[in-house]
């Protein structure tokens, strides 16, 4: 058996090879040089902006990014090409850590992140990032949530309040599905028996169908868009989000809560839903770039062509902007001192 250690002949080959590599390098350098020369004139012109999403392709979050990307590019100075990139892992926390530690703050990386990152930061799990250091651009759509049950379970709000314990399908702790269930349960003193470990909302819905669980607390938009036929399900509670998208006839949780503690817990659930889709930039992004990105985002949200594309893709819009989102996010991360332990205990219930 021969080994492939360098000999005189191969040294000659390596010399020739370096000639090849230099040639290829020069050829490739031609295109790279063009990119660099543009950098001086405008941050975006002739460049490619990456809109990074922390979930895999095809999900709801990814869909927002893919619909939004071309219009965001159209409204940025220089009309750069905006491409969507998926950086999955740890429920979006890989992306958060990438933004905090490695992404260049040059405007060419922008991210669509979920409120799960904020919950993880609140619970101090998931790495070394502070979302408050990431300039907010906006949110194409916040969300509300609803507690939904299989109609065949015969579950009613009255029976729930009287102490009937429903089996609630949830995912991992810190996912919104788990957070909604725990916070609503604690805020309104409604008993639940969490059945965790499901793979996703569709999995829980199948579990409702087979009678394995009774219901779940989930995104209201998701319920409206994907739970069919509606007569198989009954929504008993809802909260948060755009008042215009409330489900008619379903009680709003905030109207049922009386204690201050309960209001704080529901406020956290509302914020988790409202901050479901945040467009952010890496820390230390220069102010002019942040301003340009925010302007482009606002123009995108008002662009009739984008609105038509969103309608065509069946995605709901409830655009909100940096100042409002920033206040809500900081409030979520800093619950009142006297209830901080209650919030953390409720959010961390699944980890017990």
């Amino acid at each position: 058996m021969r080994t492939y250690l360098p000999s005189h002949e191969s040294l000659r080959q390596i010399r020739d090879l370096s000639t090849v590599l230099v040639t290829v390098a020069v050829l490739s350098g031609c295109t790279g040089g063009t990119r660099d020369s543009n950098e001086a004139t405008a941050p975006f012109a002739g460049r490619t902006v990456r809109l990074v999403v922390g979930v895999s392709a095809g999900g709801g979050q990814d869909l927002y990014a893919r619909v939004m990307a071309p219009y965001l590019g159209k409204h940025l100075p220089g009309e750069p090409n905006v491409i969507v990139e998926n950086m999955t892992g740890a429920g979006g926390l890989v992306l958060m850590n990438y933004l905090a530690r490695r992404a260049d703050p040059n405007g060419l990386t922008v991210a669509l992140v979920t409120s799960q990152a904020i919950t993880a930061q609140l619970l101090n799990r998931g790495g070394d990032f502070d979302i408050r250091e990431m300039p907010l651009v906006g949110s194409p759509a916040g969300d509300g949530y609803a507690c939904v049950f299989g109609r065949e379970t015969g579950m009613t709000l009255d029976s729930w309040r009287r102490g009937r314990i429903p089996r609630m399908g949830t995912l991992n702790p810190t996912t919104p599905l788990a957070s909604y269930a725990f916070l609503v349960s604690d805020a309104l003193a409604l008993p639940i028996r969490p059945i965790s470990g499901h793979a996703g909302v569709a999995d829980v819905r199948a579990a409702i169908g087979s009678g394995e669980v009774d219901g779940l607390c989930m995104s209201r938009d998701g319920f409206a868009a994907t739970f069919e036929p509606k007569e198989d399900y009954v929504a008993l509670l809802q909260a948060g989000g755009d008042p215009a998208s409330h489900i008619p006839g379903v009680p709003v949780a905030d109207d049922l809560v009386t204690s201050r503690r309960g209001k704080v817990l529901l406020g956290v659930a509302d914020a988790i839903a409202a901050l479901a889709r945040l467009v952010v930039l890496p820390p230390h992004t220069p102010a002019p770039i942040v301003a340009a990105m925010r302007t482009a985002f606002e123009q995108t949200m008002a662009d009739p062509a984008f609105l038509a594309a969103a309608r065509s893709a069946n995605i709901a819009l409830w655009p909100r902007y940096a100042a409002e989102l920033d206040a809500q996010m900081r409030a979520l991360l800093s619950p009142p001192d006297e209830f901080r332990d209650d919030v953390l205990k409720s959010l961390g219930r699944g980890e017990e």
């Binding site: 990456r50 869909l63 950086m87 199948a206 087979s210 394995e212 980890e351």
Partner: protein, 658 residues
Amino acid sequence: MGEGTLAASLAGLAQALAPSSLVSLLVGVIVGGLVGVLPGLGGPTAVALLLPFVFDSPPQQAFALLIGLISVTSTTGDLTSILLGIPGEATTAATVVDGYPMAQRGLAGQAMGASLGSSLAGALFGALVMGLGVSAARPVSRLIGSPELFALAVLGVCCALPLASRSPLRGLASGALGLTLATIGLDPLTGTPRFTMGQLSLWDGVGLIPAALGLFAVPEIVEMLGARSAHTAVPDPGRGQFVSGLREVGRRWVVVLRACVIGTGVGLLPGVGATVSQWLAYADAARRSPNPDAFGRGAIDGVIAPSAANNATLGGALVPTLVLGVPGGLTSALFLTALIVKGLVPGRQMLLPERDGGHLELVFAFGWMMAIANIAAVAITWVASPWLVKVTRIRAAVLGPILVLLICVGAFSERNLMADLVMTVIMAVIGTTFAKFEWPRAPLLIGLVLGPLAENRLFVSIEAYGSMWWARPIVMLVGVVILGVTVHSLLQSARRWDSVGKPTAVQGLMPGESVLIAVLAGAGIVALGSTATFARQAAVFPRVSLALALTALTMLGYRGFRQPARAIGGSNLHLDKAALTATGWIAAFVTMVWAIGFTWGSVVAVAGMMAVMRERIRHIALIAGVTVVFMEVVLVRMLHVPFPAGAVFDGMKRLGVN
């Protein structure tokens, strides 16, 4: 079939045969075929890229494009598995086990013919089940809960027993190692990070693509680079072999039918896909074969069964996707998104004809499109087969570096994470070592695939139903089948022992094998110790799988000391200086890519490998140029694969060096 259903089916056929649909379908078939051939770049990647086109196209054309694409990725992925020994998709890893040895023996054409024929049969069977099964999906789904899924996962693990019939203890150790690796990541119940070593990239566990590439592809490349002449002696098979492969499919219709039923049945289960069904079909074929020892060495049934199953799965998986909105796998999840984007919400509407406000005609059109797409794929491959087979005749000095490049790209692009490259290298070390010592690799991958399903479903079952979770008719029925399969496998093993008057199983240890056992046992003990920090529920599954692994390793070690050492000659790998050099090149390749980025790292590594293997300079120049174009134009610009710049360039940027 009722009159209304027949009318809807014919209307669906008309929709599928509309010129605009056919054109979109053909585009999907071509894109899907190419994506399927490239290792690691799977149907999900392509579907994600095509989603924007779905927004703007009429529903019929949009779905024709998507179905054309997702229907053929497994078909062409099987060809990569056969020709190169590299799984084109995670769903085609099982085809490597016998397809590649066939190609090495000069039977690439026959293996391709058999694979394509059985893929077509699988796809047609899946399409038929989809057409007929949609109306039954809702009532049947009510009978399938977590206990049933747990029982089926255990059945899958038991079905893998014959894959290790020549060395059951090694098979058990391999499977238990797979189950243990499957517990890496966040515990699904409590969210406890397990064996993640502080790495966020491990929170989601070990990716199936890095695992499949590392376990199955790299050992073949190590061998090819070590032996250097692996492919050059293969004669040109011609079309005759291709036809004979197709004929074999007809002759072995029972194997095909069983694989189709397994594939479609697995597809019907929510959350389980072709990554599982291919192995179940393979194991079933091995278990029922009169010559199970031929499996792993080029048995044609080992090509036919997984090829039929992975294609049949899609038809099955679309049933719960369309009727219940519960996708069977990632590809059907993306298809579900496309449905919702087009305003088609899965549910009863899918079962109603258009005159009643439903979409039954479209559902039938999907089935017809799947069938047409696969017929087109087989026809195209038939035409291209003489050229495809020539791939196996490329010199190792040219093919090897290109394959390493494709493996790196495939491993990275599943999640766009460099950590997956590191995982590929780790799995490659395991795979190469296992191949060297003749440890079965398939049980490890099966454990990795089925482990999370089994663990999740067991705990959901206990939480939802309490201690009597098993007292359900289907669970008990599957329990009986599990018992039957296990006893049958053990009896078959014992019978082979008796028939030749001495054990055919691999008994004694090879020189150096005790080191492998000691290393694995040491790692297992350390891992077992670290479970002390896990939450109570989170620790159960890792402890059980580690206990299984340690038991098997202890017994192996004990036997090894009591029985004479076996010769190393039986191995198909040569752990000599050349193979070590080849392994070193692969590690250097990954290091280069990490240091100076994918494009430049690949160019330097590919050209460097070729130069040291004394390839001609003009060939090196050509391949280097093609590499740059492939990386920069195809992957970066067209497919938007976000390659990192490289640690050196990152470091320079941080230091302010431009």
